[in-house]
Symmetry: C2
DNA sequence: GCAGTTACAGTAACCGCTTACATAAGGATT
DNA sequence: AATCCTTATGTAAGCGGTTACTGTAACTGC
């Protein structure tokens, strides 16, 4: 048997061009000078032969994969569109590939880590896309990664890019309290380990405290940052007889706000007259919900771009600062009770 | 120099377990029997050593990458969330990885095909994610792929999964004409080579023809299936003085409908009283736009799942039928002028 | 005119797996 | 008892690149 494969390899182009494979490799990678004459011949031969370097062979020999991985806990929120868009833009600009994987805590034993040191050159870890322990292990091995919408546990120093949550949430809730006179504000929180959700809870509580409103845990609902779950949860809440009174709901993200609006509407409440609703993220549909949603604008695509650029900084051994947190702003629309659209 | 690498390889586990690398490999891949005793020892050693197979080495030796690629033209539409979700679910269930890449027609020369035969075992090609010529080349080489929201050119036989466009669009437009008396219906189309958009145009024109309404090309606007572009285009259309009269707009997708609603609202038109609006896709936010959007429900996540499963069928040499087209249905809400929500 | 660079190119040893081929031992078959 | 399977395992040749070493000319500067 001569060649198992029918694909054209670097040997084919070397032979055809009358040079050695080393020269071909150097030319392809532009990491050593090659005479103009040879370069031209190689260009011609490679295109004649339709030569495409074999990625795996390259990876194996060079010990770099030219792919970066994105680890998510799920793919259920419109939020991920700007996120993916930002990431993909810089990844492809760098000539890398992007692997996206969701992490299911229960499927760990089934197979070796789907993405990690051997499959990717670096990882973008979104929120609760990996438990602290795995984070620590990866980090200990010096594997390049940056956290997105999550800060590292105190013992680890991993670059991160997040968004300002606490202050802006406090302002948003105080707006509800001070401008619109709301006092019984439901917080439709996100997943239990979702860091944004936790910071938003801090901001929520601090606003209550600053305004002498007792925190009532009956007003905490978990919508998992998912439209349908938020709907279900609020629907149950409204229908279960015990009728906890409330006059506003702060949903930790815009996607869940859709579910909240639907549930409220279904039970005959008017927004914002009966119950005000405010969200977080300012997803593209927010201005056109019914009513237009007052929410916090988070620069999701920028977060994504910056995080990805920082990952490449690390890969290229450029200096890279620790934690960056991007500013947010409130966009007032009608769902809080305001009449005119404005920013704060 | 002994070992360039510091990572643990199959040789390490073989030595430690007192067997050959072949045995380790066979056990890992479950493709040959291994005695219970050896299996147990290997389990222990592999976990002690934290052994993770090196993906590239595997790919190189086995000539399969265990990754499938998704080729998109862009990542600007909320539509992609259910799409990605459906794909990722089946890809990860199969133990494969997913590479997502956007295709920029102008960057082709910069580097070898970012994803293709050498990087992936198969491709999912969304819509206009690749030109016919490349499609033909790939197909000629027998590379596994399936088309999503696109049918192959007549000369090629590539499996595809799409959605029923023409009939449902015709019905939707006829509803506007016959129930709501609309006669001057703007069609906010998508990208020029976007197949769905083209079929929807066919449906649109056939509805007009069937109702003795002359097609007016001044009523064709290109919103690129993007929220912001649709807004811009309609905004210009409304502001440019020549004031083409119209009484409804059919946006080829829900995302663009948001831009349309915003532009209409900005110029003081009421929806649906002055101008009716209908969309396509039934994205999650559609029921809560202002007003709730009448649209066509497309089973996007199912499309994604089925397409991915068919790709795996091909990889596994199972029979796989040609073109599947999934049914769609109209969801009547208020933006068309109807009062009560219903399906058709 | 000669040692020291510099520019360009070749040889061959890996990178970490998979797998064809070979081997050995213990039945089952006849 | 000789032959044939079957099961479990080992040996070693790749898979298609990269790159550490070398080697050769041509080019410097003095």
């Amino acid at each position: 048997m001569t060649r198992r494969s029918d694909s054209v390899t670097i040997y084919d182009v070397a032979r055809e061009a009358g040079v050695s494979v080393a020269t071909v490799s150097r030319y392809i990678n532009r990491n050593a000078p090659v005479s103009a004459e040879v370069a031209e011949r190689l260009d011609r031969v490679m295109s004649d032969l339709r030569y495409v370097p074999h990625a795996a062979a390259r990876h194996l020999a060079s010990r770099k994969t030219r792919v970066i991985g994105l680890l998510l806990s799920n793919l259920h929120n419109d939020f991920f569109v700007p996120l993916l868009n930002g990431i993909e833009a810089v990844v492809s600009k760098k000539g890398y590939n992007l692997i996206v994987a969701t992490y299911h805590a229960n499927s760990r034993n089934d197979m070796p880590a789907p993405i990690g040191p051997h499959n990717t050159d670096g990882l973008l870890i979104f929120s609760d896309g990996l438990v602290d322990e795995d984070l620590a292990n990866l980090n200990a091995s010096g594997f390049p990664m940056v956290l997105v919408h999550r800060t590292p546990p105190p013992s680890l120093s991993i670059p991160s890019v997040t968004v300002e949550n606490i202050e802006i949430t406090r302002k948003l809730i105080e707006h509800l309290i001070q401008v619109h006179g709301k006092r019984r504000i439901v917080f439709m929180r996100g997943p239990i380990h979702q860091e944004d959700s936790n910071w938003r809870e801090v901001g929520y509580k601090s606003a209550l405290a600053a305004n002498d409103i007792a925190f009532d845990e009956n007003l905490m609902l978990n919508g998992e940052f998912e439209r349908d779950i938020a709907f279900q949860v609020l629907n149950d809440f409204l229908g279960n007889g015990r009728q906890v009174a409330f006059d506003a709901v702060f949903t930790g993200d815009d996607d869940a706000a859709i579910g909240v609006l639907r549930a409220l509407h279904k039970h005959g409440y008017r927004t914002p007259e009966d119950i005000a609703v405010v969200g977080f993220d300012d997803l593209g549909f927010a201005p056109f919900l019914n009513p237009p949603l007052t929410t916090v604008r988070a620069p999701t695509e920028s977060v994504a771009r910056i995080a990805t650029e920082r990952l490449f900084d690390i890969l290229e051994n450029k200096p890279s600062d620790g934690a960056v947190v991007l500013p947010t702003e409130i966009i007032f629309r009608h769902s809080c009770g305001c009449q005119f659209e404005q920013k704060l």
